[in-house]
């Protein structure tokens, strides 16, 4: 049976490769700016091209939310086929996207848009989209998604603090790194905040720490692994998870351009929604 409502998200959901088709999700791209050049995340630039450019760029890129007009265009198009939509977006503490969606929705009449501030970023949003897509009605989808927002977690290992620091989202002191030493921070996105969990000197020490942290935070409903151009490490984390939790599907997805601007290359993420 065809859904009567559409599922919309933005490109920071970092959907696994085939989810867009599998769950019929509409993705509105954020933008990445290298100097004066603007790229739509995942449309004008893919992840590989982005990280290649990031490596050679002298000035760090910046990111920006889709405009209200762009959201309005998407909603107007969807209004032809659906009664309404749920629009799930990156946490408002991190981006103006949800606000932009809300303003955009105001200009489309007769089409119900439930804009959701996910309070999180990246693949937990993908899980929320899946939850919405599998719901029977827009109201049920909205309720099911909202219920899961407090349980969303992103445990991220950054290879360097440089990018997130330059982006202004986290300072060295906040990451427990008040030193010149090149430490790799382990950060947790939870309850609208980015908090330090640990700091390590080497990647091989970090992966067991990530798994250990995850095990202390059970039970979980969904879990996935993210990486920024570090597929082997992601496979190692996923293998560790599958070994201990054979019942859980562990999708692997890539950190996209917008999030990548703040994490930098070689970041690893263990993302989940608590039960």
């Amino acid at each position: 049976m065809k859904r009567t409502f559409a599922v919309v998200t933005d490109s920071t959901a970092d959907l696994p490769d085939d989810w867009r088709e599998r769950y019929d999700i509409e993705v509105v791209p954020l933008k990445v700016l290298f100097g004066e050049e603007t790229f739509r995340d995942g449309v004008d630039i893919n992840n590989r091209e982005f990280f290649e450019r990031l490596a050679t760029s002298t000035k760090l890129p910046t990111t920006s939310a889709p405009s209200p007009g762009e959201f309005a265009e998407v909603y107007e198009r969807l209004a032809k086929d659906y009664d309404g939509c749920i629009s799930i977006h990156i946490g408002a503490q991190l981006s103006a996207t949800a606000e932009s969606a809300r303003v955009g929705a105001q200009s489309v009449e007769g089409f119900k848009v439930a804009v959701i501030d996910s309070e999180t970023v990246t693949m937990p949003m993908a899980f929320l989209c899946k939850v919405a897509a599998e719901s029977a009605s827009l109201d049920q989808a909205t309720a099911a998604v909202k219920q899961r927002i407090p349980g969303c977690r992103v445990l991220a290992l950054l290879d360097t603090l440089r990018y997130i620091e330059m982006g202004g989202r986290v300072s060295r002191a906040q990451a427990m790194i008040g030193t010149m030493l090149d430490l790799k921070p382990l950060l947790l996105v939870k309850d609208r905040e980015i908090k330090p969990v640990d700091r390590v000197r080497t990647r091989s020490r970090a992966i067991p720490r990530m798994l250990e942290f995850f095990e202390s935070d059970l039970p979980v409903e969904y879990v996935g692994v993210m990486h920024a151009q570090a597929p082997e490490d992601a496979d190692r984390v996923a293998a560790g998870l599958r070994e201990r939790h054979p019942d859980l599907e562990v999708p692997i997805s890539q950190i996209g351009c917008v999030l990548g601007t703040h994490t930098g290359p070689k970041a690893l993420g263990l993302v989940y929604i608590k039960k």
Partner: protein
Amino acid sequence: MSPELNQGVDGPLFKRALLGSLSWLSANHEEVNRLNVFPVPDGDTGTNMLLTLQSAVEDIKESDAAEVSKIAKLASHGSLMGARGNSGVILSQIFRGFARAVEGKSSLTPAELAAAFEEAANAAYRAVNKPTEGTILTVAREAGRAAAAAAATPGATVPRVIAAAADGARAAVLKTPSQLQILRDAGVVDAGGFGLQVILEGMLKTIEESESLNGALAMSRPQTPVASQMAVALPEEGWGYCTEFLIEGSDLDLDVIKNQIEALGNSVLVVGEPELVKVHVHTDDPTRVITLAGRHGKLLKLNVGDMSTQHRRILEDEGQAARAPRPNGVGLVAVVAGRGLVEIFRGLGVDAIVEGGQTMNPSTQDMLTAIESVPYDEVILLPNNKNVILAAKQVLGLTKKKVHVLETHSVPQGVAAVVAFRAERPGAENLAAMKVEADRVHTIDVTHAVRDSRSNGLKVKKGDVIGLINDKLEAAGSDYAEVVNKALGKLDGTFELITVYRGKDATDDELAQLESEIRSRYPGLEVEVQQGGQQHYPFILSVE
């Protein structure tokens, strides 16, 4: 009066004004970026506003519409399509409100223009979920109010209304730090509000220029013409001093004091009673403020803070996070020598440093003093040298505090241990985890033999370069790179990271040679160089 003076705002004029805004914002957007601390200090407010305005103006460039309503509509649509960031979205709503207000009009009288400014601000307020004062919203409203006031005066003209709006915006921007704590803390004005000020000033500049081109008018200029140049230059001049005090006296007149103080600065706050008045002001001249206030009574609790320093401090990130008391109540004390190493240990969160090491063993008393100075009853002490461990252990019987001596033999072990320390974990658990990490690290000390000797099967002459792995002589040779190579070759196992702590006596060339040698021999390894500044050991290497 020339006819131009009474000219209303028609399509071509509004178009020119917007293009002027764009070029003025374009010239100043980096300045706006630098102010950006709210809601997220990511330094892109100016860029976002510029891109939004560019998008607003895009279609206008091609249009030769005579009606102001058509140009305003294009701007509204373009800005909505191109809106970026919070400030950009709000700016687009300002354009939207303006366009609605001027719908169907071909030209605006000064009063109509002012009304449109006010409606623009109202639309922006309505669009935002939780309007915050002290932001672009407040600035838009104040600009609208000032424009309305100017339009209500006899002989009002379009340039005067715009000048009043720009002035109103500037005044509102200067007040934003008193409305928003985060701006006050950062010692900046609101970036988005400042961006709007720049946009209005851009309009004003354009209109003034075209007026003078027409040769029509010697307009009564606003009190600070092209106000932005002053405002833009503000950061270079510093943020002034945050000056606070109490005045004790009798029959103090708050209004009089307030008027006097207001002339000397901004963010002025004068509150209290006739016997005791609290004064707060941001001023470039605290001495004058104090002298003046002193005439009214006795000054108490005087506090003058350099806001430029406050701002720098925020930039340098010596935030509260590093200073907040630890939940586990455990302090850290380390024995280290060398300026760079001291910095590294401090940066990692060590509370007190005892200067010392290989040739300068600190006394038990030195360590005891450091331990007593730390605001925790439980302390982990890191000797970081095997010759210090014994003296460190003597501390145990001399203090009421619960002291753990973690027997780190070297700087690399000490660093590894401190990295593993976690503020929310109890002392005993921390100690165990720190020990595991310390034991995981190999240390290579590189120095010169002080005399001829034979040790561990190696014969060395005085002055030879020697390498010690975990305190044992394992390599000797004539230069640092050679000895490090030999030492690395003797280590078993797989490694990921080599940290080189450069000593005081190592030259740039020696460092470069060592680094390139390690990188070419071990291409898969990460190599990190830190300025240790230690004496006697040109290089200390941490291998993990």
